[in-house]
């Protein structure tokens, strides 16, 4: 019952030990499934030890995967990209002919520390060049127009608490929306209930869901009830952080807008991840977090824009992993699609295939999947070699400890990623 749970939460966080809730004990079982045949031979630093925490970073606009994990010496790449090709001397070599974009210095350090994985060629059969179709597929975890998200269906099935999943920001993203349960959404910055106990008491009444209500009316009531359920726990943690403006300025990103002007790509990624780190470090029962960075639709003058975005991603990601230390946290970074192999004439790139998923933190490090060949393109695009559901399945089983089939339809065998 909600009241019991709230009492439990109000009783303080002291009782919520990391071992009890995050399963950070060392006696857990190692991931059972065998590594995919093409998985790196590089051994994992330590076997997975039971359920961890998933942090999903959505890059909106179609990140140029080819200029993120770069086939730096490939002649076809160099010719097709021309002036946009990453300078091989500046790129950060990973081996196997690939190098990270020079802006990803923190990621290179993670790679050297065996805390970074690269999944090549991730996509799906209906991947086209539509931002909106492709983002819907990634977020719903399905190609058939579902109106629930993949993590939302996990919440519907396994969820017991409104704090099971938290998306940072303003609006509820599809990935975190279930038919019955959805993630709490926590803003960057202050998160405190105004008014006094009277207001709270009356809001509790308004948050009750009347059976007779229309579905949307019930959803309104539920959002009020959920707010009351999360704010006492999350509010003090979310408000206590460093200035997110300073954080994001340091990372080359935009700060939260104090005067009402929204920033490119929403709130800065470092500020969002700082909030996540503080919640994780407070041992909340939360198992999945979502953050976003926009602005990757680089049709024109790509080089400077992309470098700034990757710098922001790199700084925010490195800072975040430092903050959460040794906790079993797995970060997954994806975008709706990649870019066309050949640059366009506006010093940019048009929409294309070639999705690369980056995984950081508690991961099986190295390369996963098969790099799509540059000499065998599909209508100018890199081909898909790994179905995205194999990646999500790997996260569901390796991090959240649930069966892929419970959440994803027609998923291929999950990759062993964690």
């Amino acid at each position: 019952m909600a009241t019991d749970r709230r009492t439990f939460l109000l009783s303080g966080l002291a009782g919520l030990g990391a071992t009890a809730l995050l399963g950070s004990s060392t006696t857990g079982v190692a991931a059972a499934s065998a590594p995919a045949p093409w998985a790196s031979l590089r051994p994992a630093r330590a076997p997975s030890s039971g359920p961890g925490t998933l942090v999903l970073i959505t890059l909106r606009g179609g990140n140029d995967a080819l200029n993120t994990v770069v086939p730096v010496d490939d002649a076809i790449y160099r010719e097709a990209r021309g002036a946009l090709a990453v300078d091989p001397d500046a790129a950060l070599a990973l081996g196997d002919g690939f190098a990270l974009h020079p802006a990803l210095r923190g990621c290179k350090a993670l790679w050297d520390d065996e805390r970074l994985a690269v999944v090549h060629g991730v996509g799906f059969a209906s991947l086209d060049r539509s931002h909106f179709h492709c983002m819907d597929v990634w977020q719903s975890g399905d190609e058939n127009d579902l109106d629930t998200g993949w993590l939302g269906r996990w919440l519907d099935r396994e969820g017991t608490d409104v704090l099971d999943a938290i998306a940072i920001g303003q609006r509820l993203p599809l990935a975190f929306r279930g038919a019955e349960r959805s993630a709490a959404v926590v803003p960057v910055g202050p998160f405190e209930l105004p008014g006094d106990a009277t207001l709270r008491r009356h809001l509790t009444t308004l948050g009750r869901v009347d059976r007779g209500r229309a579905p949307l009316a019930a959803a309104v009531a539920r959002s009020t009830a959920d707010l009351l359920d999360v704010i006492d726990t999350v509010g003090p943690l979310a408000s206590a952080g460093r200035s997110t403006a300073a954080l994001d300025a340091n990372n080359g990103g935009a700060a939260a807008a104090p005067e009402g002007e929204p920033q490119r790509g929403g709130y800065g990624l470092a500020g969002q991840l700082d909030t996540v780190a503080r919640l994780i470090n407070a041992d909340l029962p939360t198992r999945a977090y979502g953050v976003e960075l926009g602005g990757f639709d680089t049709h024109a003058n790509q080089a400077a824009v992309h470098e700034a975005l990757l710098t922001q991603l790199d700084g925010a990601l490195s800072g975040f992993l430092e903050q959460v230390g040794e906790r079993p946290v797995t970060v997954a970074v994806y975008s709706e699609f990649g870019r066309r192999v050949r640059a366009n004439g506006s010093a940019g790139t048009d929409h294309g295939g070639g999705g690369t998923v980056l995984l950081a933190g508690a991961v099986r490090p190295g390369f996963h999947g098969e790099p799509p060949p540059l000499d065998d393109l599909a209508d100018g695009d890199l081909r898909t070699t790994v179905d995205f559901r194999a990646v999500f399945g790997g996260l569901l089983e390796g991090v959240l400890d649930v069966d892929t089939a419970d959440v994803l339809e027609d998923a291929p065998r999950p990759l062993s990623l964690v």
């Binding site: 058939n144 308004l206 209500r213």
Partner: protein, 459 residues
Amino acid sequence: MSSLATRSDVAHLLRRAGFGAHADDVDELAAGGYEAAVEVLCDLAAPDAAADAIVAPTFDSDSYLDAQLGDEDARRAARQRARQERLTTATWWLQRMAVAERPLREKLTLLWHDHFATSLQKVKLAELMHLQRQTLYDLGPGSFVELAKAIVRDPAMLIWLDGRESTAAAPNENFAREFFELFTLGHGGGGHGDDHKDHGTGELAKEHGTGGQPYTEEDVAEAARAFTGWRLRRGRKVASFDERRHDAGAKSILGKQGSFGADDVVDLATNHPACAPHVVSRLWSRLARPGGPADPVVIELAESFADGYDVSALLRGIFTHPEFLAAETRVALVKTPIEYLVGTSRALRVPLDATYLRPLAALGQVPLFPPDVAGWPANEAWLSTSASLTRLELARKLAAAADLTTVIALPPSRRVGAVARLLGVDAWGDLTQDALDDVADDERLLVTLALVTPEYLLG
């Protein structure tokens, strides 16, 4: 005197065809009956003295552009000024919406802004978005074909979707793709409807079946060639056509061959059978209830719309359709943050100023700053815990500034009903009634709570 049912219908009409209204205005309009109310609202040619009385912002774009050539201090000062212009322009539009005597004209302009979504995040110069808004306002009630032709050469759009960078030698596809996918034909394939899932609505799209995408990758590439040649010269507020940068060669677009230019692509797209259902679906989904291009009502309305693309006639068709007044339609939309703010401002006579931009930004909807080219999301996307808190704070701010004279004059026992009438709510549900009855002696708290009820947030 109008019947209660008519008053309820007219209040619903005023919410959807506008932003809601003060109770006295609802009474006045309802006195003539529903059909007359539709005619009054749909008279889009009439001037709007109240909205026009809001002083329009002024711009100094030239000095912003000049400063780009200057030193860092000059650039910083120019950026600060440009930022102020953006905030002033967004506030100005909110104020127009809040006082408009012809609210449908402002609502329609906002819907076209959502449809041809362009953001100052990239455009930067408020003057150019101010001009685009004016284009949407001027041409919005007329022919959709003419509106689309203005958009393909709109300066802000040329910046937003990189059209000014696109030349015969090197066309880029950004504008051409979104022109087909979002502005005219819809994505079609994969069973997807027109309101993207990540944007919150659209389960009806499934019925669309496997009709397939109405355009191909080839069409996008060829249309990109046809759209080349439009430039925005430095400091200019009007695009110019540069023949040397235009690809005048033969093209094949949507099954037709010719040496097409930008206006030809608009004609080809609007003659395609997918266009009218797509555009109607967008407006029906925002004004009535979510419905994809295969929704029977959308198909019915699209049949007339396809003949001439008369937007005013379409609006009349929407508001007089029996399904518009159906019970489920009335609870099918969550007020967007702008609708919520402007509607409350109108109902409670709260003047709007720049301090309201901050809560709008926290909710995720500031005019002239849509999140991407698909526009704003709908419904469930606005119902997050984060949004609940921001709405509560906004409700407190609005309730504190509200004119509650008529409520205070009443004994507490009659106040809950009076607030319902003030906010255009037909009736409170039992749970809500209980919560509000409890606070009837504290009129500010009563109104604050009323503003966060499901009954008020829907509709």
